[in-house]
Amino acid sequence: MKHLTSIRELDTGSAIAILDNADELGAVNSREVKKLPALRGKTVVNLFYENSTRTRISFEIAAKRLSADVINFAAATSSVSKGESLKDTAQTLEALGADAIVIRHPMSGAAQTLATKGWISGSVVNAGDGSHEHPTQALLDALTIRQIKKSGDDLAGIKVLIVGDIQHSRVARSNVLLLSLLGAEVTLAGPETLLPKTFAAMGCKISHSFEEALAEKPDVVMMLRVQRERMQGTFFPSEREYAAKWSLSGERFKMLGNQTIILHPGPMNRGFEISNEAADDPRSAVLTQVRNGLSVRMAVLYKLMAGEG
């Protein structure tokens, strides 16, 4: 495996192998010397066309823990603003010695295009492309659920509810594909305008009522941010109305089971899609997600760059 641009590139076995590897590599993060020599001499470039401090730092630390050299290229503030194409930027970075490019891009498909057009020979990791996919986020979510639920290799029978702005969410798409690949039952919930019925074809259930979806007693509730930056025009009447129907708060928060895991890919909008009460509850695994993000990205970089042999 050379690239990771979509969960579609994984089968159940390879997904479990990445999670297993992430568990092992994660142990490094609690050692005194948090470093392995696996990628010594290799260079990883974080090529970010969208601002994302959290994901960029996570990839950066992951690469450094494997002893790779890391270059951060914030494309929004570089020569790209002078009109340089993705092709030229990527080829320039490779000429400078990049062995892998971790790319975040506002356009769906950009990572796959970079991996398949023949522009470069190195590995490509998708760190989020438009509304398409964010595979390492789904892997870290799967790892978090697997750890807390102690469900063995996969996520068989675990009920996951993903709530909010599904339409614009690459996190939701990657999670539907990965969690169902691992045997979980995924339900998406959100207002009709942000959750078209066509999502069902990806292998999940659809609900337009948060209360009804919670009544199914999900094991995991993942809250998504409303992505105003990807919206053209109006999708719901007001933030107040959205929060009234779709925020994890009040009566809905009380409907959660004792063991229900609360997830959020961050950054959270407290008081909008999630209340303080929910975000700070012991059932919230938001910081575990962040920690697992590091291990999963180490596992992915290791798999793509060090090879399996």
């Binding site: 194409s85 993705l86 092709k87 891009h105 356009m107 769906s108 498909g109 950009a110 796959q112 295009t113 398949t116 057009k117 492309d129 438009g130 509304s131 398409h132 996919e133 690459r170 798409r173 078209p196 066509t198 999502f199 074809a201 990806m202 053209q232 025009g233």
Partner: protein, 422 residues
Amino acid sequence: MQVFKGVLLASGETTDITVEGSQVTKVGKTTESGLDCPGLMALPGFVDLHTHLRQPGYEASETVLSGSRSGAAGGYTALFAMANSDPVADTASVVEQVMKLGEEAGLLEVRPIGAVTKGLAGTELSALGLMANSKAKVKVFSDDGHCVHDPLVMQRALTYVKGLGAVIAQHAQEPRLTEGSQMNSGELSTELGLKGWPSVAEESIIARDALLAEQVGARLHICHLTTAGAVDVVRWAKARGIQITAEVTPHHLMLTEDLVRSYDPVYKVNPPLRRTEDTLALREGLIDGTIDIIGTDHAPHSSEKKDCEWEQAAFGMVGLEHAASVAQEVLIESGASDWKRFTEVMSSKPAEIGSLEGHGTIAEGQPANLVLLDPAASRTVTAVTHSLSHNNPFAGRELKGRVVHTVFRGKFSVKDGKVKNA
């Protein structure tokens, strides 16, 4: 004098065709010797009502000359050049310039299409009458690439153009429903995270314009139908007696949205590739006469416009050199129709819609505009053709049918598959 011996006509008859000067002088057996054409079909030269020749303004993608060469290679003897050049073909001087470039190339007849609105902006009528009265004698007006979306502007344009004896070719795309749209709207666009292009954006404009054409008693042509629903709307309008004609492209007849999974911009086109059920409805419509013609929407783009992210890439595909093979696949190889229908959709009907004389028929006393093709030949489509651009979604596919000779006004524009140097 040139005699084509033993050619097969669309009627199934085997005969000889005698050409003297620029005219066909005899269709029938003759004792004169000539070019033996065993197994070759002789058909009226093809007429494309929908070509983007890109000149003036975008000569890196195509010129009138290179597009003429590509057209001749595809068996065309007439191309209607769309108005979205730079400057836009919205004045008499631009359409006359395009016509003149076509005459200089001399490989086929280039008929300029005039813009409906100034600068294709959709607000003010362009110089419709002046273009119609110019040396280019414009008979087709279109803002193709843009929809004439303002209903009042469309109503006025239909009314005005009716008085000129011309037709409006509408690019049916409701702009608000397709802001930022990238591909067909459906399960696949959802998964790929690309903004969907709903079929209702096409169908609603066709329905509206059919009713407007009915109200003012004008002729209306619909460019590139892509959806099953659009075929239904056109079928309904024809049954109602509205003067509407419709077109389909080679790519919408054969290719589907599944190709977009690759995010390869060679498959990015406006209107977008649709579902298999849509291609089937389009084929049915083409066979039963609901859809009148095949128009290529030949839309060359230089490689910079396609060698990039999907959302960044330009819309469009080339089409002139494989359109006939696609028509053969859909009408003949399928067993669903015949060469008479093939001739209608590729030649006589587009000539009629465009008020183009001297094309669309092989008859004594008529200009010798014809194509001889070998329907039994198979070939692999290549990206590199006579077009300056290589954005060919059929590249690598095996298609039947090969253009052997193209004759324009009695002279070979293509002989033995080789395009004459202009």
